[in-house]
């Protein structure tokens, strides 16, 4: 009995201590959020201001939001903004789709059979994931020049596919391996061919990891700077990121227009992320988080 009362008292004190603790943590996290969100807030809010409003107040939300900066940046942004936007979308879509298809095919084989050196080959492939592109870029530039693929979107697409494949193979193979073998065998007994097992059974189950690979790869293509900069030299063939300096130099003094341009470069990826976020963490962690 005494023991019980004592215990309850202790629990009460515990709860009070916890609630003070909680409000303190809430304040800490509000402050952390401020640090994380401030640059983005600065970009979006100022992109909606006129230059006068910006000069008078750099921090507040825009009081009379205007989309004029967006129109200016899009139509006159270095005169090429629309082309850069188009190039970026073309590269991101084609490279990502091809990468995902090739990675699915390879991941399927790795997950289903073992052959001589299969583990070694997979490990080698996975470790390519961390090799920075700067290492390959000098020889690749010579080769691409010889093949007349500099200043073409195909050249960049090809390099992006190569760079994205190791990560995609890694994520997809580890996900495919978690799929119940009995289900695949049952389908085979029912007369399903090895090809249709992939399309009818594995792909529908693997939606989270496939979407993850799509999102991560699109982000990579959209945000990539070095390769785009080296291989796309003519102004009209550039992507948004590799043209960002041209764009910025043109509107150096007009910060709201610059911010509108930057916002437009950011918004598509933010939307894509939020669309895929439900699957994103699940897909990304299925491989890396075992054990």
């Amino acid at each position: 009995m005494i023991k019980k009362i004592y215990k309850r008292k202790r629990v009460n004190r515990f709860i009070i201590k916890k609630s003070i603790d909680k409000s303190f943590r809430q304040i800490v996290f509000l402050f952390i959020s401020l640090i994380f969100i401030f640059p983005m807030f600065f970009m979006f809010s100022n992109s909606l201001k006129t230059e006068d409003e910006f000069l008078n107040n750099k921090f507040s939300i825009p009081f009379s939001p205007t989309f004029r900066n967006y129109v200016t940046a899009f139509t006159k942004g270095g005169a090429y903004f629309i082309e850069w936007f188009r190039n970026t979308i073309i590269i991101a879509i084609i490279a990502t789709v091809i990468t995902v298809i090739f990675a699915i095919l390879i991941g399927y084989i790795f997950s289903q059979i073992k052959f001589k050196f299969s583990t070694g080959l997979l490990n080698l492939t996975v470790s390519l994931m961390v090799v920075p592109p700067i290492i390959m870029i000098i020889p690749l530039f010579k080769t691409m020049s010889a093949l007349k693929m500099v200043n073409t979107l195909y050249g960049v697409i090809l390099i992006y596919i190569g760079i994205m494949l190791p990560f995609s193979i890694y994520v997809l193979t580890s996900f495919f391996r978690t799929i119940d073998r009995e289900m695949i065998e049952a389908a085979l007994i029912d007369g399903c061919s090895r090809h249709s097992v992939l399309f009818r059974i594995i792909l529908p189950i693997s939606k989270p990891s496939i979407i993850t690979v799509f999102v991560v790869n699109s982000l990579f293509c959209w945000n990539e700077l070095l390769i785009a900069m080296v291989f796309l030299k003519s102004t009209s063939s550039k992507t948004l990121m590799s043209a960002i300096t041209i764009f910025r130099n043109r509107y150096m003094t007009d910060i709201p227009i610059t911010m509108a341009g930057l916002s437009m470069m950011t918004i598509p990826m933010v939307i894509l992320y939020f669309l895929g976020t439900r699957f994103f963490i699940k897909g990304l962690t299925s491989g890396a988080l075992k054990g």
């Binding site: 909680k22 943590r25 809430q26 996290f29 952390i32 959020s33 640090i35 994380f36 401030f38 640059p39 983005m40 600065f42 970009m43 090739f102 095919l105 390879i106 084989i109 289903q112 059979i113 583990t119 490990n123 492939t125 470790s127 390519l128 961390v130 090799v131 920075p132 700067i134 390959m136 870029i137 000098i138 020889p139 690749l140 010579k142 090809l158 596919i161 190569g162 494949l165 190791p166 580890s174 391996r177 090895r194 945000n223 700077l225 070095l226 080296v230 960002i244 910060i255 610059t258 930057l262 470069m265 950011t266 990826m269 976020t277 963490i281 990304l284 962690t285 890396a288 988080l289 075992k290």
Partner: protein
């Protein structure tokens, strides 16, 4: 009914042709260019001559030093992201919103981030304005990007700000799979927050902590070109040069690809070394 050899090859070939073209072939050429010079269209073996050229360049040493300075980021980012993940895990009101906010920088493009920071951290920019006029903490503006002493630390701050979201999300996802009773039992036994952190959280998350640590080492050592190029571009006064930027400039601005190849090989050696450690420490990394 098994997968035939023909089918396996057919499935794997398209991807691997590209991988060989993008990785294997250039790396072979890289070694050739480092040890051979092309004179009158004839390859001549020059031994370590190109490496000597590299070692005679003071900017190479600055770059190498900065690469190692960047490694300071690793312990900072691992510890902070672990602590934040644990705090979020312990059930904070609105933790899902915080998780999204903290992860947002990770999806932004680095050049975009750099430009925003250049504006906000400029000598006459809004952050200095707050510090000087509103808070009165300092009297002279901090030259975040244009002081040879401070610029590298500003870059480190930006990299941490941008990269930390992934760590938090990974740790949080792993924490969700830890048996809650472990923490409850420890709490009943009177363990405080720090005890739980040291004796439960870290051992339970050991695998993912190792993975993330090595991942971050590689990120900050050889994937930071975008940060440096789009903000300081090596300046002021070459103080923020890093190996990647050095390779890029030597190869494409000063047109000495053979010396740049030597630097690229050094970077490759470092990457291989980390991968080697990765396989030793953690057999699970490769989907074995």
């Amino acid at each position: 009914m098994g997968i035939t050899k023909k089918m396996a090859i057919g499935y794997m070939l398209p991807g691997y042709v590209i991988i060989i073209f993008i990785f294997a072939y250039p790396i072979i050429i890289l070694f050739r260019d480092a040890f051979f010079n092309r004179v009158d269209n004839i390859l001549t073996f020059v031994g370590l001559q190109n490496f000597k050229g590299l070692l005679a360049d003071p900017i190479f040493y600055i770059s190498l030093r900065n690469n190692f300075i960047f490694l300071i980021i690793v312990p900072i980012i691992v510890i902070i992201s672990l602590v934040i993940a644990v705090l979020l895990y312990e059930g904070l009101f609105g933790w899902k919103v915080y998780r999204v906010i903290i992860f947002l920088p990770y999806i932004l493009a680095i050049p975009v981030v750099s430009i925003i920071f250049i504006y906000t951290l400029a000598g006459n920019g809004p952050i200095n304005d707050i510090l000087i006029n509103k808070l009165g903490i300092i009297s002279k503006p901090i030259l975040f990007f244009s002081s040879t002493k401070i610029a590298i630390w500003t870059l480190i701050g930006v990299i941490i700000w941008k990269e930390i979201g992934l760590g938090i999300v990974l740790f949080l996802a792993r924490l969700m799979t830890v048996d809650e009773q472990l923490f409850e039992a420890a709490e009943i036994d009177g363990a405080n927050w720090f005890h739980k952190f040291i004796h439960i959280t870290i051992p339970q998350l050991k695998t993912i902590i190792e993975f993330y640590t090595l991942f971050t080492i590689i990120t900050v050592f050889c994937w930071v070109f975008n940060y440096v190029f789009s903000s300081t571009n090596g300046g002021p006064g070459n103080s923020t040069y890093i190996l990647e930027l050095y390779i890029y400039k030597i190869a494409f601005r000063y047109n000495i690809p053979n010396v740049a190849s030597c630097a690229a090989i050094l970077l490759l050696v470092f990457v291989s070394f980390i991968i080697f450690i990765q396989f030793r420490v953690q057999r699970r990394f490769g989907v074995d």
